[in-house]
Symmetry: C2
Subunit: 194 residues, 2 copies
């Protein structure tokens, strides 16, 4: 089966909306199938089971997010700008995407803060690679302190996940934006040489 199959993409896109609207339990495989004029039997040609459908759907959503950020970062040249754009666009995407917000609220375990039980490991690894490449560029260009790239990447990604949890999983927004920007400046000062 071709991963770029149109029907397959349509299925993921539709099931994303349904899972967001009704949650995992209330969304039936029949709901998803009929929404795209498919029988539920046929849906099993594309996925192993309901859980697999769900995970492929979330993975699809996370990849869209990652691509959006990656494209924006690649438009910048200066390494500090890249870092700022990375932070800004990551937040901007979710702020403007009610569907993904709802998904995160319904299923906080998507961002589990634990890589060993991470169902979206591959996608998160490629998201972390965006950070990693910026750090490497910064160190290469003598702009950044020569940090331990692997561990600081993991650290920054975890801090980012923490913000997402505080913002969307819990709806704690009191002065969170200020905390985010102050934390960002602290981090940039910690990264910069001199």
């Amino acid at each position: 089966m071709d991963e770029n199959n149109e029907k397959y993409q349509q299925m993921l896109s539709t099931s994303l909306e349904l899972f967001a609207k009704f949650g995992y339990k209330k969304t039936t495989v029949e709901d998803v199938a009929t929404s795209i004029n498919m029988t539920k039997g046929n849906l099993y040609f594309y996925v192993k089971n309901k859980k697999d459908l769900y995970e492929k759907t979330i993975d699809f959503a996370l990849n869209q997010w990652k691509d959006f950020v990656n494209d924006a970062v690649n438009k910048e040249k200066d390494v500090v700008s890249k870092f700022r754009i990375l932070a800004q666009k990551s937040i901007e995407y979710i702020e403007n995407n009610r569907t993904v917000q709802t998904i995160l609220i319904n299923d906080p375990s998507i961002f589990t803060l634990s890589s060993t039980e991470d169902r979206f490991y591959n996608t998160n690894v490629s998201a972390m690679n965006i950070i990693k490449k910026i750090l490497e560029q910064g160190i290469e260009e003598k702009m950044f302190f020569p940090v331990d790239v692997e561990h600081i990447t993991e650290y920054l990604f975890s801090v980012y996940i923490m913000f997402l949890i505080k913002s969307y999983v819990k709806s704690d927004n009191s002065s969170l934006k200020k905390m985010f920007s102050e934390g960002l400046e602290l981090t940039i000062r910690g990264l910069l040489l001199k």
Copy 2:
């Protein structure tokens, strides 16, 4: 009722062990009462209900933790040493306390990353005050960059909670210590002037 009442302290100490051993549901108020030669009716002289008993118990545990860290910090004079000791002792305490570890694993929501629904708000505020006082001293002594104290305090506390979640709520220990120390150095560089 006196909060420093010996029977009351004994009750909290005993129920901490029982809640750690059996979890909230499997621990009955009668278990707690009989463990300290009390009838369950009498226990209601000290607490409103089972939930109240649980929260007073956790609060008791968190305060012991906080006091341990605070005492260690107050032995230092240099502001950077204070900051390092704060980080070190916070982790050391939980590393050596199997009981509190188990409590955290059984009830991840104790560290909720959300201050609005925080059942232990007062205790966490006084924990944050330890950070806040160090930041203020550092800025006063011209050692630290003049950061926004309120928001950076909240930021650092959240990062700390994130580490606790990664360490104890989830059992993800692969290179976590390295990540912690690298993140700590990054933060200290971000705090220091010059």
